[in-house]
Symmetry: C2
Subunit: 253 residues, 2 copies
């Protein structure tokens, strides 16, 4: 096995964050679960956006933010995600490449615009999010090059990808490519609502294919439907390589 070229290769949704400050009534009026991410279609995204105050746009996406953070610490990293050939797609590509992130998925030339995530910050600094996936809706197995995956020491997957059927196939293809190249596969469960939507599939994935799992207490307790973090540990008896990150308390094991 040759040495990997990238410390981490991330696969996730390519989203431009549209960040604004709102009051609690805004969240209630739009019926969003506080602190979580709601997936919406274009019509609802535009209706919510029209009600929002002025915003700032910053390239984001859960996995991509992690990759950008690693790059800023000096790690050599790559990202696989899907934008369109529009202004926000160009902004997104610039922002990643300017950090020397390897990012060479060709932008889509047809279909929906580059995706965005409306980040609504309430006075308690909580972030409630509303995501329109746009071009990222169609991330699929064709976007995953097994040769590129084999160049990453770790392939890091975003749980939110599970919301789109073609993205599931992309995840499975990437996990298989990493595994056959003797690389590690990492997954973040993303948020407790995401776990609710895909509990059984996530359990199978963690049991069979994941080497490093990122989850906070709410997410991991939701995954195994237990009330207590200690009760989670028993689920990992047979998988000593699985690492569990507990938010604000470091890696558990």
């Amino acid at each position: 096995m040759s040495d990997p070229d990238f410390a981490v290769l991330g696969i996730g949704n390519a989203l431009v964050d549209v960040i604004s400050s709102v009051d609690d009534e805004f969240i209630t009026a739009h019926d969003f679960p506080r602190g979580a991410t709601t997936m919406v279609d274009l019509e609802r995204a535009e209706a919510v956006y029209a009600d929002l105050p002025p915003a700032q746009e910053i390239s984001g996406g859960s996995c991509a933010n992690t990759i950008a953070g690693l790059a800023s610490f000096g790690a050599t990293v790559a990202f696989v995600g899907r934008v369109r050939d529009d202004q926000l797609g160009k902004v997104y590509t610039h922002d990643l490449r300017s950090l020397d992130v390897h990012f060479d998925v060709a932008p889509a030339t047809t279909g929906p615009a580059t995706g965005r995530c409306l980040v609504m910050v309430t006075p308690d600094a909580q972030r409630t999010q509303c995501t329109y996936l746009g071009a990222s809706t169609f991330i699929g197995p064709d976007d995953v090059d097994p040769a590129l995956v084999a160049r990453g020491a770790v392939t890091y997957l975003e749980g939110y990808l599970w919301d789109q059927p073609p993205a599931k196939d992309a995840i499975r293809k990437a996990a298989a490519a990493a595994s056959s190249a003797n690389r590690l596969v990492a997954l973040t469960l993303s948020d407790p609502f995401c776990v609710d939507r895909h509990r059984e599939e996530f359990r199978d994935l963690v049991a069979d294919e994941i080497d490093v799992l990122f989850a906070n207490e709410a997410e991991i307790c939701s995954l195994y439907e237990v009330d207590d973090f200690d009760a989670v540990i028993s689920h990992f008896g047979a998988r000593p390589a699985v690492s569990l990150a507990k938010l604000a308390e470091g890696v558990v094991r």
Copy 2:
């Protein structure tokens, strides 16, 4: 004369600010005058952007920022500026309208993209700017509706507009419309380099058409080619209505 509908109507460049942090060497390497705004063509704007680190995008423009600030304090205001019918133009329109700024100039359907201003912030918090006007290049007299101008108690003009010939005609048309409706005309000199480029025309404008002039010490001293703020005052003896704002020391007279 009927009561005005708007406390202030602003006319200026509609620019999306692209804000990033750079070191001093970046400014030197690209040969920008520190703290000033350099107008560039698309080719240079793209070359500089390619070298910049990740950025955040916020709707901006000198005059529009003032209008947005007034709106956030509760004033009823309007803005005249020119974007294209592209993603950044939609972002710009959203940001102004969400503050209840009256903004109804139809976006251009052809020609260059919505303009942007690369704001390079150095460690001393100084902002050095590089502007590609884009769609704003063609703001002209057709964008100025005299009936709209007559609805503003004050028409506030941005000195940077003077860099484009059609915009000069727009300024003159707006000033004439305001004057014939017995409204006030205000001008900001924008920056000392802008004053250098248009000194004679700005002097004539101030002598004949401007009621309220916004300038900091460097700008006003450049306008009259004097070294001392006190020496400036004599130039306003015959124009008692002219107010001069001296940065950080309040309005002088």
